[in-house]
Symmetry: C2
Subunit: 348 residues, 2 copies
């Protein structure tokens, strides 16, 4: 949009404008929750407790289903691209209900003039990621819009899966005393995309990968004692912990120093002034498990390459309900807040 | 894109440029088929015979699944809007496999600055359409892109459903001697959108509606004798007849005068130089049924408001395989060709 204010000082879309959708509404933080609770949710009759995936009865069988659109920019980043990310993101959302992903749909909105070779490359990347995750791409759609209408390509994937035996996994399942586990170091996807966008040269790759196989091993190791699974995508670890504390009506207390932040992620965060707890992961999950199952689940995670950095970061408490706190390195306690939402657009 | 050729005479994206995606690739005609067969299909290992929906085994049950993105412009047109259309389009694609749609996902890509009131209105329209079609919206996603990045809003819906008892419906199911039925007059959606886009004032509404209830009645009336169901969306009646002739390895012969074209549709087509057989419908289906079942199926269709104009338009022949011909009003025979693709962008 052209403006008579080239420095953007007047900000044509004020952040306080309640009548317009803002970039921050799409970042999975508090702004999105507000938009969902006031605008999108009520007509649909949707539950404000957002799970990563829904469970629908089809012919008497529970089918797990989840949808996500991918608008990441740039399309290529160290460790992945929009095609592989679109598969991993949805496969993981299905897996986070304690399910085995079975099939995906793949829908493209492409801008006129987009190079066919790039479309072929992205499609091949999505196909490879699906094959590695043992899911079939069974249906698709292709729309083309005019030049300038889609920033190259947007991808929607929707996944369906079948519940794993003995899995009872929900965002509301955290119980006081449960152990809070993380499958690896945080912030790698967000930092890799931001570094690629800003042209930084860091030895840093997105963690984007399918987590369904690891989830299957975790459930096999301890069944119903896995209470919550969430991949720490938009909004990062902070958003996920806040969401599950809120959904479960429990508190969460973590040890800040127990959360592994790779040096390169910390460096990107320092340069850009971002909290690593707010950075998206695309191959790292948070699990809340019964305390007696923690060791078995950690062993199951560590037995796989995507979970080799798994560790315990905290405990579910009975109060303060809905609040996440961290014990810092110097022994103080700080509140880990839900990110507002606008700082990291187009990360997935 | 700025160009030094303001009249567009040099055409920066030549239509013969095989290295770029063109508007016509998204119109569901021959160009799309070519893109799919050469670029998108091979990495995925997809069958070139495209059904409206796939059937996936989940825990031993056949789950029908279909996805579609909606980029229609304008967002509002007589008889519907992008919200209701996004529900009807996917519900109908699921129904066309002989299934009862059960649930939908709803994913938005929204442009920064989009009015919240318009988002609320579109969401309410989608919710109303879903309720009327007896499907639940069970999951969703919202992404926001910068101004200019999504022409307001794009919507993806993915639907899942359960197979109706005795339904064996596939695009490849047409057999010589079968009756070809249409559920109503053609071209109403495409004509209504084009008229709204051009600012024409016609007394014309899109036929956009859910067809799942009618499909259920049709299958109940004659079970396996319903061989093919297709809603005549992108590419219109001509595309659907060609696709099913091709998939079934059969010929189709129709009576041109038996195809009802409303006067207002004919008028829009005359003004814009378009063949009404190429105009999209969004609430009108083609059924290929065993000849002895034709009367029962027509009666089931006519008993519902969305099928009250149902009639027989032709017959499946054994040759020429893959070819659709029409007997014209003066008794001549013409070939009904697959539309190339580019004449009607952004119709759904």
């Amino acid at each position: 949009m052209k403006t008579s204010d080239p420095l953007g000082l007047a900000c044509p879309v004020p952040r306080t404008d309640a009548d317009r959708v803002l970039m921050g509404h799409g970042a999975g933080g508090r702004l999105f929750a507000e938009l969902f609770d006031t605008v999108i949710g009520p007509p649909i009759g949707a539950d404000p407790v957002a799970e990563d995936a829904a469970i629908v009865a089809v012919d008497g069988v529970g089918v797990v289903i989840s949808t996500d659109s991918f608008v990441v920019t740039p399309h290529d980043f160290p460790g992945g691209d929009i095609g592989s990310l679109a598969v991993h993101g949805t496969v993981n959302d299905v897996a986070m209900r304690g399910a085995r992903p079975v099939a995906l749909t793949l829908a493209y909105i492409i801008e006129e003039g987009f190079p066919t070779a790039e479309l072929a490359r992205i499609t091949a990347s999505a196909a490879r990621a699906a094959e590695q995750a043992c899911v079939h791409i069974v249906a698709g759609d292709t729309k083309v819009v005019e030049r300038g209408g889609a920033d190259g390509i947007y991808i929607n994937t929707t996944g369906i899966g079948e519940l794993l035996p003995h899995a009872v996994v929900t965002a509301a399942g955290a119980e006081p005393g449960d152990a809070v586990l993380v499958s690896g170091p945080i912030g790698r996807h967000g930092a890799a995309v931001l570094a690629a966008r800003e042209g930084f040269v860091f030895d840093l790759r997105s963690d984007s990968c399918a987590l369904a196989g690891m989830v299957e091993d975790m459930i096999r190791a301890s069944g119903r004692r896995v209470h919550v699974l969430r991949d720490a995508t938009r909004g990062g670890l902070a958003a996920v912990l806040n969401e599950l504390a809120h959904a479960s009506g429990a508190g969460i207390r973590i040890e800040e120093l127990a959360v592994a932040v790779p040096d390169q992620v910390a460096a990107v965060c320092e340069v850009l002034g971002i909290d690593p707890f707010h950075l998206a992961c695309e191959g790292t999950l948070v699990a809340v498990v019964a305390p007696e199952a923690a060791d078995d689940v950690l062993a199951a995670m560590r037995a796989r390459p995507e979970g080799e950095g798994a560790h315990r970061i905290g405990t579910v408490t009975d109060s303060p309900a809905g609040r996440v706190t961290a014990r810092t390195g110097i022994g103080a306690t700080r509140v880990v807040d839900m990110p507002l939402g606008e700082q990291l657009p187009r990360i997935c």
